[in-house]
Symmetry: D2
């Protein structure tokens, strides 16, 4: 799935009705667009329609800049939540980290290989530890030490920084703080977390310890959008690895690190390619 500049992607959900695919594809066709990928899904219980279409704008009859306005009447008629993104407009992502480096170093390395079509203008942390890692990739690193008293003020400053840099998406790459509802509200379905368990098992702190105590034979990692409710947001991606009675807590942590890296990287990739729609407490992922 390479990602080229002369491409547009429509991501849309609306109440289901007859003719949606036909009318949307006709909109593209009559303007000379060539559909490259189309995925649709109907939630037959909720009667909701979901679609992702990408098309080549190489021979499109209207400029990309007018696309949004051109599609608006149709979207309004459908009562849709929708977003059109253009291939030459990269998502802007801020990473939030604490002290663990495994997710950050993996994401930055992947980014350096071109795996993610995003810009990473800045990294935020409540600790200075990972500054050298950020420096190696030339990314500005902002330290905001946190105490219970300063949390409110710090989050205000962080939001200001994010807005200053036009940040679209926040990735919590093992950020060990809980964001306030006020913060989360500013980035709905835009804050991606990695939780080191197979949710909904082992919510909260020390999931590997909980897993070791329960004696499970498989551990997991879960990437999800952050909502007000801790570890309850819509799940984007999960994966697992087998363990045995021989594995100590340290082994779980080590094996889990590999999972966390993979699952968070896949989630960011899916998100950055506009492949995810939220459906209530769940996601539709057009993979």
């Amino acid at each position: 799935m390479s990602f080229s500049d002369s491409r547009a992607i429509l991501l849309l959900s609306c109440p289901d009705r007859v003719g949606l695919v036909s009318r949307i594809s006709h909109f593209i066709y009559e303007r000379g667009g060539n559909i490259l990928d189309l995925d649709e899904h109907v939630d037959t219980v909720e009667k909701t329609f979901f679609i992702r279409v990408s098309w080549s704008t190489a021979h499109f009859s209207i400029p990309a800049s007018e696309l949004h306005d051109a599609f608006s009447p149709l979207a309004r008629e459908f009562g849709a939540n929708w977003h059109i993104s253009l291939g030459d407009c990269r998502m802007r992502v801020a990473m939030f980290v604490s002290k663990y480096d495994h997710c950050l170093q993996d994401l930055l390395w992947r980014h350096s290989t071109g795996e993610f079509a995003v810009d990473i203008p800045l990294i935020v942390s409540n600790h200075p530890d990972l500054e050298p890692l950020a420096a190696r990739y030339g990314i500005p690193f902002h330290v905001f030490p946190l105490t219970a008293e300063t949390r409110h003020e710090v989050e205000r400053q962080e939001l200001e920084l994010l807005q200053l840099h036009d940040i679209d998406t926040v990735v919590l790459a093992r950020y060990m703080q809980i964001l306030s509802p006020q913060f989360v509200e500013c980035y709905p379905a835009k804050v991606i977390n990695i939780h080191h368990s197979f949710l909904p098992a082992f919510v909260g702190s020390s999931p590997y310890r909980q897993a070791a105590e329960r004696g499970v034979k498989i551990i997991g990692a879960t990437s999800h959008y952050v909502t007000e409710d801790l570890d309850q947001g819509p799940i984007i991606e999960q994966d697992i690895v087998r363990i045995t009675h021989k594995d100590t807590l340290d082994d779980l942590i080590r094996k889990g690190r590999d999972l966390e890296r993979l699952v968070l990287a896949r989630a960011l990739r899916l998100h950055s390619e506009q492949r995810i729609l939220v459906n209530g407490k769940k996601t539709v992922v057009f993979d």
Copy 2:
């Protein structure tokens, strides 16, 4: 993915061009069809377009019986390979078996639960061993003993039997004979085999023995359409299971049985729901 009677499915491939999705979805929309599922794929190397659309015919403006003729002009214009199937028209499947029962008993049990929307009018075997199993599910069992001399004549009789029963698809559920090119030609992309290895590794006979000798750490099973070339047909589905140095050849056979059953069942399900298009030596599987 339940499968109801008032549904039509179009499976189509053709050279790629602008407007295919739009024109196909418009064909359905203008006749009052409500699209339930649409999957499309473009092979950008071969410039080939693949689509599967299913729609509700509950409020369709033309009778299902006229659908084929109504769509023909469009298909001709596109230069398409295509097939429309109707929800109330079940695929007719013949099973071919030899002496191993694990695949057959699993498929028949699944069929009894309604997992496959097919009819199984008959079972063919070169041995009488599995007749009691067929009898338990009330399916006629035809024994055709085979020798090198009679092969040609036997296949002729088998084909006659299949044609007599309007068979669409043949499932080789561990059938230990190689079909002649003449036979295969009569059922292009309609004969489904299960090979007990992770193809293309361990082609031919005794793949578990080959795997044990090579010392692999994972074994697999592969379901594919049968072509003239042994074990070379388009792959439909594969799966694997881990093994260790402790596993003997008997263990491989036992673990492999579970894989074979699962992989063949998934392949038949995908095929019976019209989810597979052949693309040269490969498949497009709209899962």
Copy 3:
């Protein structure tokens, strides 16, 4: 791992101390036994030692019938929980079922192929539905209808029946009733259940519905020993399968059936080959 008659298996756990492997293997060696398999594990947190040894008794210097008494002094010295089983003495297993047939039919078919070195003298159910399936394999089927009032008396009768048939192990093959603590107490680490979720996620009823509502991307099945606490017993085996937003509740149930069958079959196999030791709320599985 074939299982032959002239074999003995020792399964033992005790407080860890120096020399345990040496003294146990010496016990076997000096009587002419040839060790075929030896697995040991030390829980370094709880300081507990676990071992499974199997050896050939073909040239053993004492009769198998005297083995238990011969080993007793050593076991006493170690303060061990232990059990010696002989290859020609098959475990006796009772199946408990309700209306779902997928686990029972799979276990009985596997048993017919020789996968489990056990006898199945009887099947117990609170419904008559699966009697024909039991009959097909020639296994006596006992129906005990249950009401809230009769539960206590019914369990008493069931226990009597199990004792009458020298039952070692009870397999709950989707038995939809909760056994009383009094019943469970009679078969400690001898009642094997299959729960259709990835425990500890989705405890209790309708786990597939819970999974569908939570929007997980992976579902699981868990086999565990039954204890007083519902779905909290030591886990024997787990496995998982991927799902997507396309999968309806019916798809989860269908995909889950395959998992339940596999996981329960593996658990019974491990148990019947004396490969499992309970370690508090967890298991040591010598696979």
Copy 4:
């Protein structure tokens, strides 16, 4: 499985006979060693015995330095291939690379976290590209440009360098050259390669291209010991990932990179912890 200094590990294989476990464990016991882990395996076809025992030498009655001599008589009697390693003696590993960085950067990062109990005194390459990566971790990087004419002489120099640094093990982290039999001979079962396919499928060059052309539904990676025969050495570890018709060759390469990193890291870990014994063309892996 943490790895501490006051530990010894015996890795041994020999023709099977009665009493091996007893006599080996007795050797340890009578010198005051406490067995921490013991794994054994008997290849019943080849009649070969394999064992790995690790024990605490904290209260051992002889100095570690005398252990080798003390055990020699027993080993001679058994006709054994054997090796005793001591916890405070770290394996010395040289990495060989070409231009791809994904395996090297992953191994070096893992090494920096302490995942491997090895020293990495040097990195060898036929290209200068990865020198900055090596520099970041402070590891000397030696460039040996290669031509068909210089190959023989270059390998001689490389071997000299390896011997100078007491290298035990060579890891080919996507080294794109084929080592000569003379080189391989110097490090029998000591050169670890990662091949980017599920061996024995897709031997040789461009395995991802071969996989894309064959239309497999699963790709893999294989780590193995290098022998004279290309891609035919004893397999240490394999893993796989699912692909679909949507995945282009670039997607296979991207997904495969994650596999290669994981599989090679696991292989090095197993090797460095003395968990692997070669059994003809296969391995016994005590995981």
